[in-house]
């Protein structure tokens, strides 16, 4: 078996051939498969190189470092390489690893140039998680984001060892999250049953891309992708049942597909189809099955819910997740702050406003007195004409309200505030949940009844009415007396000790 996926078993350090997520800046992540180059790649003497607006990073500087490391940019000659290539090659859009170029082959034989650290620029190399992958993956369809999939996986009880059906692999965000949830080791051989994701995709190009991704991410054996129209062809894999206990449907018309997910052969609309001995249910016959469908429109929900109810699913529940990212910043308001971005130099409180106004009034008086002196005779009248509003350039200078706290660093100033981020995702999709219990036949019931015969109940759990409680008390006292007697008689009759201990936790009223 090859190396396990870095999503599941990250190890301590980065290694060649595995995926890493590069954090360029806040909310700017880039998935990157790290390569070990033996010679110049694509014109870069340092080997395969990542070029960003925060500097260039030869893969050699990103390899074999602990996850989470801050890596400095390197001085990479990007300029001459671009010119050279433009002269003789036209395929500019192949940035990675094309060593078959004639001109490069000479350079490729030369040993890799050691990367020289640049004076500025850095990035972080993060270990891949489904969350990071979800924010950075190449979009093919609408993505199921973390707030949704975290809730869904929790509700459909996806746990280590669960076998889960996912239809509409889409961009693969849910696939990655669910494979982490159900992972309990790679299967050793074909007969070994482990947690597994059975994924179905109808779109052929998406299917091929997804298949390649699964291989690159080391998820072979944990994810089985099938190119399939699930509306018509159902959920069996190679004619065999996946024995799923959890289902996630992210398809446009879930009601077209759910009748395949039943215990017996069903037609759409809940009618039982004719007996077919070859028919196999894709569900685990011995376990309850949880389903979640993901649809953006309420009309889809209506039809899905009706179909689920008709087919006998119970506990139908519909929710919508609203997630907000919170922006946390410092609000700096005060007359002493400079009029820069991020500051608000209006008064912070009433006292400050009054002080400011007072000082302005004083200054105005001074100005007027000076003006009055200058104009001479008409001093008294003109005083009424002068507008008392302070002029713009008379901004109060430092030292109005005591000195600005020089000792306080800018990041400590102001008041800490929080608000939702400016772009809100107000609706992603409606989530419909339901449960399909397993079948329980008369024979099963008879067998269980034979094993656990009734009629010998001695104690009562839960709410009791007054009469029953009295009866209980009477019995208990009786029992105590009896057990005392029996102890004397060296009997093995159990004592009463446990009864009270058991009554407390169960009394939930």
């Amino acid at each position: 078996m090859t190396k396990p996926s870095t999503f599941l078993v990250p190890g301590e350090k980065t290694s060649a051939g595995t995926l890493a997520i590069i954090s360029l800046s806040r909310d700017n992540f880039l998935p990157l498969t790290l390569e070990k180059s033996t010679g110049a790649v694509d014109g870069y003497l340092e080997g395969a190189t990542l070029n960003t607006r925060f500097g260039s990073y030869p893969h050699s500087t990103l390899l074999d470092v602990p996850w989470g490391s801050q890596v400095r940019a390197s001085n990479v000659d990007t300029g001459s390489r671009g010119k050279k290539r433009r002269r003789d090659a036209t395929d500019e859009d192949t940035p990675i690893a094309s060593q078959d170029d004639d001109e490069d082959s000479t350079a490729a034989n030369a040993p890799v140039k050691k990367a020289v650290t640049a004076p500025s620029g850095f990035i972080y190399v993060l270990r891949p998680t489904p969350e990071l992958w979800t924010t950075s993956l190449p979009h093919r369809t609408q993505v199921v984001y973390t707030p949704d999939y975290s809730y869904i996986l929790h509700r459909i009880r996806a746990r280590p060892g669960t076998r889960i059906i996912e239809a509409g692999a889409g961009s693969g965000s849910f696939t990655h999250a669910s494979v982490r949830a159900v992972y309990n080791g790679y299967p050793r051989d074909a007969a070994d049953t482990k947690g597994k994701v059975f994924s179905f995709e109808f779109n052929e190009s998406r299917y091929h891309k997804m298949q390649a991704e699964i291989g690159e991410h080391g998820l072979d054996g944990l994810v089985q992708l099938t190119h399939r129209d699930v509306y018509n062809d159902g959920f069996l894999v190679d004619g065999k049942s996946p024995k799923a206990t959890a289902v996630f449907l992210d398809v446009p018309a879930p009601w077209e597909a759910v009748h395949h997910l039943s215990r017996r052969k069903m037609k759409k609309g809940g009618e039982e189809a004719e007996e077919d001995s070859n028919w196999v249910s894709p569900l685990d016959p011995k376990q309850s099955v949880h389903i979640c469908t993901f649809s953006p429109c309420i009309e889809q929900v209506d039809r899905t819910v009706t179909e689920l109810r008709t087919l006998g699913w119970v506990d139908v529940d519909m929710v919508e997740i609203s997630n907000q990212k919170i922006n946390i910043s410092r609000e700096r308001v005060g007359v002493n702050f400079p009029s820069e971005k991020g500051y608000n130099s209006s008064p912070a409180d009433v006292a400050e406003a009054v002080t400011k106004l007072k000082s302005l009034a004083e200054r105005n008086k001074d100005t007027q007195r000076v003006q009055g002196l200058q104009s001479g005779t008409e001093g008294l009248d003109s005083e009424m004409d002068v507008d008392s509003t302070p002029s713009r350039d008379n901004r109060p200078s430092n030292g109005l309200n005591g000195t600005a706290d020089d000792a306080e660093r800018p990041f400590m100033q102001g008041r800490l505030v929080h608000r939702p981020e400016s772009d809100l995702k107000t609706h992603t999709s409606y989530l419909v949940f339901a449960v399909l219990p397993c079948e329980w036949s008369e024979e099963d019931e008879a067998a269980a009844m034979a094993k656990w015969p009734c009629g010998n109940e001695k104690k009562t759990i839960g709410n009791l009415d007054k009469q029953a409680r009295k009866e209980e008390k009477r019995k208990m006292l009786e029992g105590k007396a009896k057990s005392k007697k029996q102890k004397k008689g060296n009997d093995t009759q159990p004592s009463q000790v446990v009864v009270s201990a058991m009554a407390t936790p169960t009394d939930t009223a």
Binding site: W67, P437, K458, K482
Partner: protein
């Protein structure tokens, strides 16, 4: 097979028609009473699958207990599928026929007969003409699991003909919630337990942690199965998570569930039977107190006796000082008291306070490593860690009384276990951190961050946002920039390791270079009612804390001075 059927003495949740959930332990040979909804023998649930809805039936003649009927899903859904806005709502064959041959009439909107009665209106002022005594009488009769009572109630309602189709449906639902003798058996897992604690128990005990938050916390802390131990590895390896939990064990349970160590491995069917048989014989768990009980127990024991004769799996004998805890796929719980509060874990059959459980160990017994903050930060002042129990010669030991000998072994084991936990935890290298704590998150992170491996995710839950805004402010861009460009005097000349254990100043409560991607988010699920023609969000929901989650990743800062690149100071402020 603990997952799909009710186990004897296992915990289950029972949902009543009123949406109230009861959590109880299904002890064999007892009566489970659901108050006004009736009672039934617990044996009727054991080894039956979960998620079934039962109806408590009338007692059969000659039987001392009521039997249960499994209500098929289609029957449960019938009401919800009926489109009340459609003109043809009730078919003739859906007319409710009362059992005792009374004549009743009830006509719905379209003039179709729903039910019939010749009962005359007695009291014009009262809308419901059945008196309390009559209702009680009907309840006692309990015919057809409350269905008849509901029909009669509707018939006796004087204003039923004035009701619209919608309010009629609502009225019926209301009465069903009150009188239908139905219940659903649900497995008690983390989602169920969280729901129960939040809605019916004391929500503050679990810090009002909603399902959305449990999901987010688990995902952002990247909690998953951490791998099987690798042969030959001596030290801790693979996935190990760090937790700080003030929710009485709910967070630990959620993490354990995600790692596959919450539920004890299902025993082989045969073994289960044998165990049951033994428990039947075991007087400790058997509250039997009269002959009939003893007989029952005996008969069971006899029926299972061939299996019971085989011995129980033996506990592997170990030296007191041998390593006890798993090296991988473990949760290290840092707690603030001398004992962690993990009371909720008893619902998953794990009793933390029992240091010596019977052999088929619960996985948490070896994979949950509790450590106190004192043991973590200053182990030498913790007597359990610093004072080893001196070894006693075996012949001296043999001369001791059993009690004293047991004590000696217990203390040695405890010391060895503490030693293993403390040493492993202080080595660090954890794969992730999940916190739901009433303590200041800044102080928690200050000491927990250095223990994390590079790139390890951090997720911290808080019911209120203020502690998290303060925490996020410790990693603000301004502060991070200042840490590098204009470091505090105390940080001068310190090595990277020393800076990792930065003690904290007012300006830099935590070394801000140790975490990137600090972000705070909140999530809330809004529930909808979906019925044909009547789909809308629920009118009311539980208020209280929505809850917030802080996330980030442990970073390993490059050594020395480092400057960023890119367009930052676009606008230089103009002078003035």
């Amino acid at each position: 097979m603990s997952r799909n059927t009710v186990q004897p003495n296992g915990w289950v949740a029972i949902r009543l028609p009123s949406e109230v959930t009861r959590v109880l332990q299904v002890v064999p040979n007892t009566t489970i009473s659901l108050g006004k909804y009736g009672s039934f023998p617990s044996n009727l649930l054991i080894e039956r699958p979960f998620h079934l809805t039962y109806e408590i039936q009338d007692k059969l003649e000659g039987e001392s207990f009521p039997r249960l009927r499994v209500v098929p899903g289609k029957e449960l859904n019938a009401d919800k599928l009926a489109d009340v806005s459609a003109t043809e709502s009730a078919d003739a064959d859906e007319v409710i026929e009362p059992a005792n041959g009374e004549e009743l009439t009830l006509v719905d909107e379209s003039g179709k007969v729903v039910a019939r009665s010749t009962r005359e209106v007695i009291d014009e002022s009262a809308r419901q003409t059945l008196t309390m005594a009559e209702i009680d009488q009907l309840k006692k009769e309990g015919a057809s699991a409350g269905k008849e009572l509901i029909a009669k109630l509707m018939l006796s309602h004087t204003a039923i003909d004035q009701k619209t189709a919608y309010s009629l449906a609502k009225y019926k639902l209301l009465k069903e919630k009150k009188y239908m003798r139905r219940f659903t058996v649900l497995p008690l897992d983390v989602a169920m337990l969280g729901h129960w604690m939040l809605f019916e128990r004391d929500a503050s005990k679990v810090m009002e942690m909603r399902q959305e938050m449990i999901g987010l916390l688990g995902c952002w802390a990247d909690v998953h199965f951490g791998g099987l131990p690798i042969d030959g590895e001596q030290g801790p390896h693979g996935g190990r998570w760090l937790a700080v939990d003030d929710t009485g064990g709910l967070l630990v349970a959620a993490m354990a569930e995600r790692m596959g160590i919450l539920h004890a491995e299902p025993l082989e069917a045969e073994e289960t039977a044998k165990q049951v048989a033994e428990e039947e014989e075991n007087p400790k768990t058997q509250p039997a107190n009269d002959e009939a009980e003893a007989e029952a127990a005996e008969s069971l024991a006899v029926s299972a006796s061939p299996k019971a004769q085989r011995s129980r799996p033996k506990r592997p004998r170990k030296d007191d000082l041998d390593d006890h805890y798993a090296l991988t796929n473990s949760i290290t719980l840092i707690h603030a008291n001398s004992q962690p509060n993990l009371s909720l874990l008893r619902h998953f059959d794990y009793d933390y306070s029992d240091p010596n459980p019977p052999y088929p160990y619960h996985p948490l017994f070896t994979n949950l490593l509790p450590i106190s903050w004192l043991q973590l930060l200053d182990p030498e002042s913790d007597p359990t860690y610093s004072e080893p129990v001196p070894e006693v010669e075996s012949d001296v030991l043999a001369s001791w009384k059993t009690n004293r000998r047991a004590n000696y072994h217990r203390k040695r084991r405890r010391w060895a276990r503490t030693r293993q936990i403390v040493d492993a935890t202080r080595t660090g290298g954890f794969s992730g951190l999940a916190v739901a704590s009433t303590m200041d998150p800044i102080s928690v992170l200050r000491h927990a961050l250095p223990l994390l491996a590079g790139g390890a995710p951090v997720a911290i839950y808080s019911p209120t946002i203020e502690p998290l805004t303060q925490l996020a402010d410790c990693f603000s861009i301004g502060r991070r920039g200042a840490w590098v460009s204009n470091p505090p005097a105390e940080a001068e000349g310190k090595t990277a390791v020393e800076l990792e254990n930065w003690p904290g100043t007012t300006e830099f409560p935590i070394n801000p270079a140790l975490l990137i991607g600090a972000q705070v988010q909140t999530s809330r699920a809004r529930r909808w009612q979906v019925l044909p023609g009547r789909t809308h969000p629920f009118m009311t929901e539980r208020g209280g804390a929505s809850g917030y989650v802080f996330t980030g990743w442990r970073a390993i800062p490059a050594e020395g001075n480092i400057t960023a690149r890119g367009k930052f100071n676009r606008k230089k402020p103009r002078t003035g």
